[in-house]
Amino acid sequence: MIDKKITIEDLVDDYPFAVTYLSEKGIRCIKCGEPIWGTLEEACVEKGFGETQIEIFVRELNELNNLNQL
């Protein structure tokens, strides 16, 4: 289960599809080949996304994860 407090490193390692999803939203999880530090929420806030949008990202990421598990 992904929540907004997940670290980007855990997200990249455990849910690699999230990198492409977030990249399409303008959030780069990987820089210089390494995951950036901090949480998903912090990465979103840095790019100017608000709480509502972050909740949508989290929901969609979990939906993608569920689809991947089917």
Binding site: T7, I8, E9, D13, V19, C29, K31, C32, E34, I36
Partner: protein, 515 residues
């Protein structure tokens, strides 16, 4: 072809390895067990048990205890231990070089080169151990002696990146050790096995010399365990961090909030200028290594080539031949003859492909490569054909550092200062180079109006620095300096001493304060 199983055996790498050590002792941690795979063939190499917060706490306490003892060991004696570490690395150079290559993906020659850098910095540090020198100054007061000296600082946190998974640890820990500091190393989660192997290589030296447990610490852990809490830890006065500008900014903010020190070695956007006065053949051969070496994953990789418009077509054509040849030598970096290995993972491939796409969207033109390789020999999915793209410096994608083998060709006209202005017009400031046989152009390039980078070379490329010089850069590269020259000073605290050996109490500035 290297027998990787034999290499792992020689280095003591098991199927499952402990990831936390205080020197000679290893902790059986309860953190998550992470797998390390090779970008070369995608196969799992081995697993590592990562740290918990409790493990981290134990290590910091051990490091604190060790510092109390280590700082009392005379610096030349500390240097002797570093000398022996260098010798141990000599013995394991071939094996560690092979593991660096297998876990990170660089060609074997570069893997060996990385271990050689470790040996070189140990040699440097041995000499430096006898030259931790302060200065004597002239006091304005009679019978007073004014001087400066350097003392050990404490615990140094070292955060390294996957592209130089062990050399950067050596740069920092060899100097920190002779300075009387102790280190806690957080290696990249992409290359934990090279870190485990290194820790095992130095173990016997630590035993033979009764080095206090806790001088050389390793903590393999995710950023949830070795992240903000590590940076915020007041017990660690200095952090040396190699990584992206993003990570560096975060680290500087967290460490700065408690007024700790940081040594940051962050992103680069390194350029080579080729003027009409260049030896073009030399410029091309040197620059090609800078653009494709380590599959474009060096901090000092050449990202931009700024070429005078009068020679642009000639230079462009001269690059295409070597690139065609290199295109035939992409593959398993442990195989003799291959010059370009994989990038680290599929995310790096995607970043590369994204850059290829973006530069075209912004108006650029692909001159060579840019493809993702598939099929026999490329099953891991991590191989790409190095790309040359014609671009303009102001493009967003050119202003960014893409950590992959893509280089942008940019034209300039007129005076060399125009090329220098283009070169400096990026957020980063790590490495730079000019190719010219004209002394005015060369001197302008290294002058105060020249390159704004920490490294400025003439008639050699941007990458492949020697350990003897200070390594680091300006602007978003972070401003830190590590390795040679006087970089050792950041690992120490500086103290000014005024000694009054007279019978009077004169105040500075001639102030009278008669009670």
């Amino acid at each position: 072809m290297i027998d990787i199983q034999k290499t792992l055996q020689n280095l003591g790498i098991d199927a499952v390895n402990l990831g936390v050590s205080t020197g000679t002792e290893w902790f059986d941690t309860t953190g998550k067990t992470d797998s390390s795979s090779s970008p070369i063939d995608g196969k799992e190499i081995a697993q590592v048990k990562t740290a918990t917060l409790e493990d981290y706490e134990k290590v910091v306490q051990k490091a604190q205890e060790a510092f109390q003892k280590w700082r009392l060991v005379p610096a030349p004696v500390r240097g002797e231990i570093v000398r022996q570490i260098g010798n141990a690395l000599r013995i394991y150079k071939a094996d560690l070089g092979a593991l660096v290559s297998y876990e990170m993906g660089k060609v074997y020659q570069e893997g060996l080169g990385e271990v050689q850098e470790m040996i070189d910095i140990c040699d440097f540090a041995v000499g430096q151990a006898r030259l931790i020198n302060g200065i004597a100054l002239q006091s304005e007061r009679p019978l007073h002696r004014l001087s400066e000296q350097y003392h050990p600082l404490g615990i140094v946190g070292i955060v390294t990146s996957y592209n130089f998974p062990v050399a950067v640890w050596a740069w920092n820990s060899a100097l920190a050790a002779i300075a009387g500091d102790v280190v806690i190393w957080k290696p990249s989660s992409k290359t934990p096995l090279t870190a485990v192997a290194t820790q095992k290589i130095i173990r016997q030296v630590l035993i033979d010399n009764n080095v206090p447990e806790g001088v050389f610490n390793l903590v393999v852990g995710r950023s949830s365990v070795m992240g903000d809490n590590f940076l915020a830890d007041k017990r660690i006065p200095l952090f040396s961090i190699t990584g992206s500008t993003s990570v560096g900014k975060r680290a500087a903010e967290i460490v700065g909030r408690r007024l700790g020190r940081t040594l940051l070695e962050l992103g680069g956007n390194n350029a080579v200028i080729i003027t009409p006065n260049a030896d073009i053949q030399m410029a091309v051969m040197s620059t090609v290594f800078g653009t494709v070496g380590t599959a474009g994953q060096r901090c000092t990789t050449t990202r931009r080539v700024i070429i005078h418009d009068s020679i642009y077509d000639k230079v462009k054509d001269a690059f295409l031949g070597p690139y065609e040849k290199i295109g035939q030598k992409i593959g398993n970096p442990l195989t003799d003859g291959n010059l370009v290995g994989p990038v680290i993972d599929i995310h790096a491939v995607n970043a590369f492909l994204d850059a290829v796409k973006k530069v075209q969207e912004e108006g650029g033109k692909i001159l060579f490569g840019g493809q993702h390789l598939t099929g026999p020999g490329y099953e891991s999915g991590n191989y790409v054909v190095p790309c040359i793209a014609e671009a303009e410096n102001h493009y967003h994608i050119v202003q960014e550092e893409t950590f992959a083998p893509i280089v942008y060709f940019i034209k300039y006209s007129g005076d060399v200062q125009n090329a220098i202005d283009i070169q400096n017009d990026v957020p980063q400031g790590l490495s730079s180079a000019i190719f010219t046989l004209n002394v005015r152009e060369a001197e302008t390039f290294v002058s105060q109006t020249g390159s704004d980078c920490g490294i400025a070379n003439v008639n050699l490329g941007t990458s492949g620095a020697e350990i003897g010089g200070a390594f680091g850069g300006e602007k978003e590269t972070g401003g830190g300096r590590e390795s040679g020259s006087d970089a050792w000073k950041i690992y120490m605290r500086r103290q000014t001493n005024t000694i009054n050996y007279g019978a009077q109490l004169p105040l500075a500035q001639g102030i009278k304060f008669d009670i």
